[in-house]
């Protein structure tokens, strides 16, 4: 009974923190994907808007995760095992927060250089599609606290808002360090060294890339296609020859 109760309690403690932390990581990954398009040929108001929304979502998640984790870790009566798990989550969350911070700073400074008004200066990076799917993935995550505020900000407003948010994240990181003393080097991870390949391996893009990798410095275009064509030609020649022979024989 006791064990069940305690495990249930621990589940109650751990579950929201774990979920929040995971969601935050997802949003940070999406944000990074979008941020790498800034300044490229797909940069547009839509992209900036997506970035802003993703960023806001990430911040909300960060705030709630921070509150959860801080409150639990400052609780002295926490059993040792739970504390270890929470510390693991803490390390993961603080790392993803740092990633978000770096990405936000990069987007902020790149926004300076690449003004959307001058579309000719955008770098031709070879991208074609927008990032709307990625943004949708980020924004589709469940919001545990508040509802989203759909705002369409102008660029200037966004810049000042972004500055504020960057400093907010800064403070959050500092606060976290002050309030809870987690010895990072003591934390032991659970997972394996190598991440398992996900079930649907991306064979298509793999093929595209390996094609590139297999041709160090040879002729630029697909060797394979040429071989294929040659074979085809040879087969056809063979057929034609046999047919001609037949014609000659039978006529």
């Amino acid at each position: 009974m006791d064990v069940a109760a305690s495990s249930e309690e621990s589940w109650k403690t751990m579950f929201p923190s774990a979920v929040l932390s995971l969601c935050h990581m997802q949003v940070v990954a999406c944000y990074r994907n979008l941020a790498s398009c800034v300044g490229g040929c797909t940069d547009s108001l839509q992209l900036r808007d997506d970035l802003r929304q993703t960023r806001e979502k990430a911040q909300k998640l960060a705030v709630s995760t921070c509150q959860h984790l801080t409150s639990h870790l400052r609780d002295k009566s926490l059993p040792q095992e739970q504390r270890r798990e929470l510390e693991l989550l803490w390390v993961a969350f603080s790392s993803s927060l740092e990633l978000l911070h770096v990405d936000m700073c990069k987007v902020f400074s790149m926004g300076d250089i690449f003004c959307l008004a001058n579309t000719t200066a955008l770098v031709q990076t070879g991208l074609q599609g927008g990032g709307s799917e990625v943004a949708a993935r980020a924004l589709s995550l469940p919001d545990l606290n508040q509802a989203q505020t759909p705002a369409d900000g102008l660029e200037n407003q966004e810049r000042s808002a972004m500055e504020k948010e960057i400093s907010q994240i800064d403070h959050m990181i500092d606060d976290m360090e002050m309030k809870v003393n987690v010895l990072r080097w003591m934390v032991e991870p659970h997972g394996p060294q190598y991440a398992e390949p996900l079930s649907s391996t991306d064979s298509a893009s793999l093929a595209l890339l390996t094609v590139d990798e297999e041709q160090p410095g040879h002729q630029p275009l697909c060797q394979r296609s040429r071989i294929f064509v040659f074979l085809l030609l040879f087969a056809v020649v063979l057929v034609a020859a046999t047919l001609s022979v037949c014609v000659v024989f039978f006529s």
Binding site: N33, Q124, L233
Partner: protein, 670 residues
């Protein structure tokens, strides 16, 4: 028939079609653009001035202009087509020329062919990571053929010099591993393992983030995914190149120097001795605590900090050859032997002390070794020879006593002298001197030092004086006893600080026979070993009484102690052995107890015994020694031993009171 005929026709048309296909592919392989420019075969001169990133960026942005910029073409892959691939020709083509003139202005180079400049500039762009090759992505070079390149996305530009984080690299490698297991190359595998070791605490995060980034990227369409992968791969080739990649460009890429530096750092780090951080931090804390009060900026210095108040008294008082060292300075000498030696004033005093002990050659040898180590290479051989003749050779005038093994090493090394040939011997002598100083050092006296100020002399005169002194000392080897004794004669005006203060009259008593032979000072040879027993017994008597009545007779006791200690020190230095061998050598003479009792304080592991010794040292006040203190009945050794042993514990605590403190009111300002 007709069927066969039709079939034949069909096959011929197929042949024609295939031929056309082949022809087209072949034509695409060669760069048949109208503006093909001939590229030189030789490697270009590198443009040596370091191009700031911002200016390269400007050029790059201009290149994006659809009308005036670089023409791009689609890259055809098996399944799809990706736009915005550029060839070298497009890069160097005429439309780029205006950009290149801009680049020329930026680079401030006034000569050079268009093509060579263009080539260097292009190579630099690739090496820095602004453009990446689509084929042969591992070598960041511009090739004069039809290979394709693409602009890197600004997120990965090196402009802002964002720190390249290991975390990101780990995530990237994990992502590649997710996509296909075992795809990592050898150096990447090594890096992955290393990162797994060093960032183990974050590893769950890294794996999870890699999965999330992979899933996020999958939301994109296939061509975009390929572009993303190419971009990231190119970024990491620039910032984490496989070690020992030979790039044709020698431009000032920090990545190239980085990898070389990291290599050397890692190999160096493996060889460094490692200490637990608690130990090293403890040592740091101890150092700070010890030296905190001696730092003129961290704590108040008397009379005032010259940097703050423009009053140079502090510097005047602490000059290298000042007569009377300040209290703080002398306190510093107590911190370690190294401090004593490094301070010229301290070294002078120590030299004097050693002269008293007739072991001045040790310090002279040490100084000679230092001279050799730090001197010019030209003079090295002569210096080494000089030192050998003076100190090491058999029958040398100032022969130092080092053990046989060290002597062997040194002599054999001297056949081919180099800077550090005397290191072993020097260390030996240093340790010896350290042991000596350990129990003669004390909370030295600092009396009315600030009051006895001398007018400051100009540095030139000081230097001259220093040189004269040195010459005098060099000339005075072997030790001139008469000169030595001149030092020992107390100088009246230096009431507060003197060397040996035994006035000849005080030493005339029979209890100190070893000073008896000469009225002024002992001759080392006469006292050597035969009269030891007598002198020691009497000296022990002196010591015993000193221990019984420490404060009242401290000076006298100090004298006696000092003399006893001098004897033992001399013996120690003459033999130049560790305390254990002293035990062995002394025990058969029936002076084991005496030997141990006296030698014990020399052992470093019995510091508690050391303080009682400190009162008797050569930094003494010259005071009138009441003659009655000298006469004591000579008791048996054993009794004294017991007394000594018993009183040691009790006396030890008391003896920390410095004798001069109780006598300061008696002293005038002198």
């Amino acid at each position: 028939m007709t069927v066969i005929f039709v079939l034949v026709l069909f096959s011929y048309s197929q042949i024609a079609f295939c031929a056309a296909l082949i022809f087209q592919s072949v034509s695409k392989a060669t760069c048949w653009h109208g503006d093909l420019c001939p590229l030189p075969a030789h490697h270009t001169q590198l443009i040596s001035p370091y191009v700031p990133y911002m200016q390269a960026e400007k050029v790059l942005l201009e290149m994006q202009d659809p009308k005036k910029g670089v023409k791009s073409q689609p890259q055809r892959l098996v399944i799809t087509t990706i736009p915005h691939a550029i060839t070298v020709c497009a890069l160097y083509s005429n439309s780029f020329f205006p950009m290149l003139s801009l680049a020329r202005q930026l680079l401030n180079s006034c000569s050079g062919f268009l093509s060579s400049e263009a080539r260097s500039f292009g190579s630099m762009l690739v090496a820095l990571g602004y453009i990446y090759p689509l084929q042969d992505h591992k070598r960041l070079v511009i090739k004069p053929d039809a290979s394709l390149y693409r602009f890197q996305t600004p997120y990965f530009w090196p402009t802002q010099q964002w720190p390249v984080e290991d975390t990101d690299y780990a995530i990237y490698l994990a992502k590649r591993n997710i996509r296909k297991k075992g795809i990592l190359e050898l150096h990447e595998q090594e890096q992955y393992n290393r990162l797994h070791k060093w960032m183990n605490h974050k590893w769950d995060f890294i794996v999870m983030q890699a999965k999330e980034q992979y899933r996020a990227a999958k939301e994109r369409k296939k061509p975009d995914r390929v572009v993303f992968d190419c971009q990231e791969r190119a970024y990491w080739v620039v910032h984490r190149p496989p070690v020992r990649t030979h790039t044709h460009t020698h431009t000032h890429t920090h990545t190239h120097t980085d990898s070389y530096q990291t290599c050397t750092t890692y190999t160096g780090c493996r060889l460094l001795p490692r200490v637990k951080s608690s130990v090293s931090i403890g040592a740091l804390v101890k150092y700070c605590a010890t030296y905190n009060s001696h730092d003129p900026f961290l704590s108040k210095c008397l009379p005032s900090n010259p940097w703050l108040t423009d009053d140079v008294t502090y510097w005047t008082l602490n000059m290298p050859n000042v007569e009377i060292p300040t209290k703080m300075r002398v306190e510093r000498w107590t911190f370690s032997f190294g401090e004593l030696l490094s301070d010229p004033r301290g070294r002078d005093d120590f030299r004097l002390f050693l002269k008293k002990e007739f072991s001045g050659e040790n310090l002279a040898f040490w100084e000679g070794c230092e001279d050799l180590k730090w001197g010019t290479a030209v003079t090295m051989r002569e210096k080494a020879e000089q030192i050998y003749k003076t100190f090491l050779a058999r029958g040398a005038p100032r022969w130092i006593n080092i053990d046989g093994k060290t002597m062997e090493i040194t002599v054999s090394g001297l056949r081919h002298p180099h800077r550090y040939v005397l290191d072993a011997a020097q260390t030996h002598i240093y340790m010896l001197m350290k042991k000596v100083s350990k129990h003669t050092r004390s909370d030295a006296q600092l009396e009315q030092n600030a009051r006895n100020r001398r007018p400051s002399l100009s540095p030139i005169i000081l230097r001259q004086q220093e040189l004269e002194q040195r010459a005098k000392m060099a000339a005075s080897a072997p030790v001139d006893i008469t000169q030595l004794c001149r030092f020992t004669t107390p100088v009246s005006h230096l009431a507060v600080y003197s060397g040996f203060t035994d006035s000849p009259s005080a030493n005339a008593s029979p209890s100190l026979p070893f000073v008896a032979p000469t009225p002024v000072c002992p001759s080392p040879i006469s006292v050597a070993l035969d009269s030891n027993s007598a002198s020691e017994r009497r000296a022990e008597a002196g010591e015993g009484e000193a221990e019984r009545n420490p404060e009242a007779r401290a000076p006298a006791g100090g004298n006696v102690l000092k003399s006893r200690m001098a004897l033992s020190l001399r013996r120690l230095l003459k033999r130049g052995c560790s305390p254990s061998t002293m035990f062995a050598s002394l025990s058969p003479k029936g002076q084991a107890a005496a030997g141990t009792s006296r030698i014990q304080p020399l052992c470093p592991d019995q510091p508690s015994q050391a303080p009682p010794r400190r009162t008797g040292n050569f930094f003494q006040i010259k005071v009138d020694i009441p003659p009655e203190c000298r006469i004591y009945p000579i008791e048996s050794e054993d009794e004294e031993e017991e007394n000594r042993a018993s009183s040691r514990g009790g006396v030890g605590a008391k003896e920390i009171i410095c004798p001069w403190e109780s006598l300061t009111p008696q002293n005038g300002t002198g």
